[in-house]
């Protein structure tokens, strides 16, 4: 059992990042952004290009990928969200427009990188280290560490920095935030840019586990979204917990039952949560945002 829980941590950390990116953008801008999964795909491809093709090194791959994908996220805010907001479009229109953006991005990726799956290994060993009956690879340890480090930095930014606090204020009461002199145009931009950058890191982290393909965003995006809903959509800590929870459940279900049932179990869990506890498993009664 402990073995499966341990094995679920790396994918759990990745789900947690994607869930966090959905929740944060939803809380801070009110938009359910369906192109979030494609930010993960772009992050993986750009990281792959910088590291494997341009040979610029592993650490630069992270930063260049985060920056490039953040620009794409800000572009979505600028060219999709902003015009729709100006014309007072209902939220559902904005959500559908992000779905459109997702299809465009996916097909652009197909044009740039082609239909073949790419392999993106990490510069650390993939050989398991054994501790008694348990074993874990250095690569998995690195994935979990980077994921957790990013979550800690992000929480610190939200709690301590002036801009982070402003984003929390917008998430809690957009009208009051405007009255404080917070520019909501700017906070939307930050929400889209930061969420995209977090997605990009998830993309690089998932790359050595799965192949990098132009349509990988659909699967990981949906799993991240399910994690966010299970943990509490709109809550950053809830979504992180949700991501680890789904990752571990999948690993345990795959090991103890059958890996063929893994997705079925995940989505059954989603339906149960929506039915019995729609605010998410990890939220207290009072709805807590960001």
């Amino acid at each position: 059992m402990i073995r499966y829980i341990l094995n679920g941590l790396p994918i759990g950390a990745i789900y947690a990042l994607v869930a966090l990116s959905y929740s944060f953008i939803y809380a801070a801008s009110g938009v359910l952004n369906w192109s979030q999964g494609d930010m993960v795909m772009l992050g993986a491809y750009i990281g792959f290009t910088v590291y494997q093709i341009l040979n610029l090194g592993f650490v630069p791959a992270f930063f260049i990928s985060m920056l490039a994908v953040a620009i794409v996220g800000i572009g979505i805010q600028r060219f999709i969200l902003r015009p729709l907001r100006k014309s007072n479009a209902p939220a559902i229109n904005v959500t559908i427009a992000t779905l459109g953006a997702s299809i465009i991005i996916r097909n652009l990726a197909l044009m740039i990188w082609g239909p073949d799956a790419q392999l993106f290994p990490f510069p650390v060993s993939n050989k398991p280290i054994s501790m008694g009956s348990l074993s874990i690879t250095p690569q998995d340890i690195l994935i979990v560490l980077i994921g957790i480090l990013l979550m800690i930095i992000f929480q610190y930014f939200l709690k301590k920095s002036k801009e982070g606090k402003a984003l929390r204020a917008v998430a809690q009461d957009r009208y009051a935030a405007v009255l404080m002199g917070i520019d909501t145009e700017q906070s939307d931009r930050s929400a889209f840019g930061l969420s995209a950058a977090i997605g990009a890191v998830a993309g690089i982290l998932i790359a050595p586990i799965f192949f990098v393909t132009f349509n990988m965003g659909a699967g990981i995006g949906l799993k991240g979204f399910v994690s966010a809903v299970v943990g509490g959509l709109g809550s950053v800590p809830g979504s992180i917990a949700g991501g680890f929870f789904i990752g571990i459940v999948e690993s345990v279900a795959g090991g103890k039952i059958s890996s063929g049932y893994r997705d079925a179990i995940t989505y059954t869990l989603l339906i149960l949560v929506l039915w019995l506890r729609p605010t998410g498993l990890f939220l207290k009664k009072r709805k807590q945002k960001v």
Binding site: K165, A169, D173, Y175, A176, L179, M180, G181, D183, K289
Partner: protein, 235 residues
């Protein structure tokens, strides 16, 4: 100080303010009274640039601010304490006060200093500065909303229904505070449904009906005006 010259405003195709004019004198309490849906809150949101005026102009110290965006208006020193308080529920009292100073460029030490003096001014907030604002009572939240506004160091404070939903004894406390804030040299535009109370504290008052200014005068004049008595004082 703040002059509103013939502003009109619409929600969609419906015009809700019809060439409303108000003069808000420096260091005075001016009140705008009227029934539900008369256009009181819309007037305040127009001043803040949240609702755009379709006609007329808003002048602050000789400067036309009608077309400015809200963040710029806040920087110029106008602050709105909204109806229903709108404190940030999942932030501490301290963080709420910090948000009030968002548009200021002053040093951390200066802001810390101001937070301390706000906490001295509102002893109830001092004992709870680490508490989440959403867990406080309505009266405490109203004090916090006022304190948060003061943190922005505004010259003009617009207050929308500060007495709403509060127990009579708390309402009295809130109005005493409004009085003290005037004493600090602030200019106040007070919107209230509780007309008697507002007129008792106000230097000058306007009565708004269906988006038009129907009457104006000093607080005393309006209190003794038979029309006002009949319509708003509930006698």
């Amino acid at each position: 100080m703040l002059e509103i010259k013939g502003i009109s405003a619409s929600y969609g195709a419906t015009e809700v303010l019809h060439e409303v004019s108000l003069k808000i004198e420096k260091n005075k309490i001016t009140t705008l009274i009227g029934g539900n849906g008369a256009g009181k809150s819309t007037t305040l949101n127009c001043i803040m640039g949240i609702v755009k005026a379709t006609k007329g102009s808003i002048i602050l110290d000789g400067k036309d601010i009608t077309k400015l965006r809200t963040p710029e208006i806040v920087k110029l020193g106008i602050s709105l304490i909204p109806e229903g308080r709108h404190i940030f529920p999942n932030m501490t009292v301290m963080e709420n006060l910090e948000m009030g100073a968002y548009s200021r460029k002053d040093s951390k030490a200066e802001l810390k200093n101001d937070i301390d003096s706000i906490l001295d001014f509102f002893p109830i907030l001092k004992t709870r500065y680490k508490q989440l604002a959403g867990t406080m009572s309505g009266g405490e939240q109203q004090m916090l909303a006022i304190g948060r506004s003061l943190m922005g160091n505004p010259q003009v404070i617009l207050m929308d229904e500060p007495s709403m939903g509060l127990a009579p004894i708390v309402v009295e406390e809130v109005f005493n505070i409004i009085d003290k804030i005037q004493g600090m040299g602030k200019t106040i535009l007070l919107v209230e449904q509780n007309a008697t109370l507002a007129l008792n504290y106000a230097d000058y008052g306007y009565v708004i009906e269906l988006g038009n200014i129907a009457l104006e005068g000093t607080g005393k004049e309006l209190l003794s005006n038979p029309e006002v008595e009949k319509a708003y004082l509930g006698l």
